[in-house]
């Protein structure tokens, strides 16, 4: 089989699979190269939030358009239930300090046109009656929600594959090579692939791959940890977070709760080749949850997991053409909140290939925005 196609996508995560799907719909021939397996990185290791509130104004328009135009019909479009709930996001506060943090976030989002507001303790309990009495208020965005990241990624993969996209797993990309000044070849440990358009969407590994062609994106690998409970009767459908960011999560269609959180020592964990849970973090997350949901203290934890966040220096992604490297598009550094915007990012990347221009202005997410402090 020929190793040439119209577009080569490096990375078989939710961004790569969604982009492949939208490109295939437009009749473009696509090959996706994935080092491990489908959705192995952040795509299967995130809290499933489909949020607009709490987002940086630079990426908020992507989230708002995804929630308005793409998420509501995604299950139907892909013929698979991606477990999307548009039931709102509560960001909880216990102290006056928390309220102040949330008021700041809310103010900035409202300025960008998002319908989010502060609510009092009574209204919080009307929305979610299981919360501790210590909760004194929250920010509330009723169009936020959550979905199942693993099913979303696999649904895009399955449909892209059905439309003829060629997926090759186990291909470890080592280099992007220019021919006559244009990015053209992708070299893996065993093969060479060729396309006039290359999209680099390989999470943190994008940095090393982009380095081979002289481009550097300032990002780090940060550990993220989460836990999953046994299934419970349906209690609430909202996405939850806290001002202090001590935990976040939701109840899935299955009935289990998925809660993520931090231990405060996350930046100082041992560096393994694969993400490994720290023995103290799950216990810490449990304490965080029980502080807000005493009712869950008898609920059993069945599983914990860890993943890497490709944390960008300024905490928003890079979605960009590269001036010095015609033929290359970057889509990386999503900083742990790429899943919620993934349908929009896939759409925009397909537009960048086919129309040579995205339908939303992405200039604030360009690759060369990073400046030193002096």
């Amino acid at each position: 089989m020929s190793n040439c196609s119209d577009v080569l996508i490096i990375g078989g995560g939710v961004i790569g699979c969604a982009t492949a799907y939208y490109l295939a719909q437009k009749g473009v021939s696509v090959t996706v190269l994935e080092k491990a397996q489908i959705g192995e990185g952040g795509s299967s290791r995130n809290g499933g939030g489909v949020r607009q509130s709490g987002r940086d104004p630079r990426e908020l328009p992507l989230a708002m358009k995804a929630v308005k135009n793409l998420w509501p019909t995604l299950s139907e479009e892909l013929g698979m239930d991606v477990e999307y709930y548009k039931k709102g996001n509560l960001r909880l506060a216990k102290t006056a300090g928390h309220i102040k943090i949330l008021e700041g976030l809310t103010e900035r989002a409202v300025a960008k046109g998002l319908a989010v507001r502060m609510i009092d303790a009574k209204e919080v309990r009307d929305i979610c009656p299981y919360l501790s009495d210590e909760v004194i208020g929250a920010s509330w965005c009723d169009t936020d929600g959550h979905a199942n990241p693993m099913l979303t990624t696999l649904a895009y993969y399955k449909n892209a594959r059905r439309l003829g996209v060629r997926f090759i797993t186990g291909e470890n990309v080592v280099e992007i090579r220019k021919i006559k000044g244009v990015a053209r070849q992708v070299i893996t440990a065993d093969n060479v692939y060729e396309a006039p358009q290359i999209i680099l969407a390989a999470g943190y590994e994008s940095r090393a791959i982009a380095n081979t062609i002289g481009i550097d994106i300032p990002m780090n690998r940060v550990l993220l940890e989460a836990l999953v409970t046994e299934p419970q009767v349906k209690m609430f459908e909202q996405m939850l977070g806290t001002a202090e960011a001590d935990f976040y999560g939701h109840q899935s269609t299955h009935g289990s709760f998925v809660f993520g959180g931090t231990s405060g020592m996350d930046a100082y964990t041992s560096d393994f080749d694969v993400p490994v849970n720290n023995s103290r973090t799950a216990s810490c997350i449990c304490r965080g949850i029980m502080n807000y949901f005493p009712i869950l203290s008898e609920t059993k934890i069945v599983r914990t997991w860890a993943g890497w966040i490709d944390e960008c220096a300024d905490h928003v992604p890079v979605i960009s053409f590269v001036e010095e490297v015609p033929g290359l598009i970057l889509a990386c550094a999503f900083t742990g909140h790429g899943f919620g915007i993934s349908p929009m990012v896939g759409t925009l990347l397909s537009e960048m290939v086919v129309d040579k221009e995205p339908s939303i202005d992405l200039s604030e997410l360009r690759y060369n925005r990073f400046k030193t402090k002096i």
Partner: protein
């Protein structure tokens, strides 16, 4: 997983089998037919199947069905089970209540109940 795998392979038509209704993953009630169909949908590793169908994601975390799923997938792909990488086992080994896992404990605290010191 390190093996290069072109996902465009043709497995032929999905042919129903007499025992497709048999439950393989008891915790999540996943049948043999669903597992076989998942392979035909392009889920070619045990981890992808787990994420797609929830096999081995229930209370026993695959301790009961892990091998069975592996054999079914291998047969569907026409390869030896040993060629498939097992899905990752994750802590805790047994389900634990949040109040227990979240218990900070005290260095000199004597744990009572059950068998005394643990």
């Amino acid at each position: 997983m390190k093996k290069i795998m072109d996902r465009s392979i043709d497995l032929g038509e999905f042919l129903p089998q007499a025992d497709d209704e048999m439950i393989i993953c008891r915790c999540e009630e996943v049948t043999k037919g669903e597992i076989r169909q998942a392979v035909h949908d392009g889920m070619l590793t045990l981890t992808e199947i787990r994420r797609y169908l929830r096999t081995g994601m229930g209370l026993c975390q695959g301790q009961t069905c892990g091998k069975l799923v592996k054999n079914i997938v291998a047969r569907e792909l026409g390869i030896a089970p040993a060629e498939l990488e097992s899905a990752v086992s994750r802590a805790p080994v047994r389900p634990v209540e949040m109040r227990v896992l979240g218990n900070e404990g005290l260095e000199n605290e004597v744990l009572t109940g059950g068998g005394g010191h643990v």
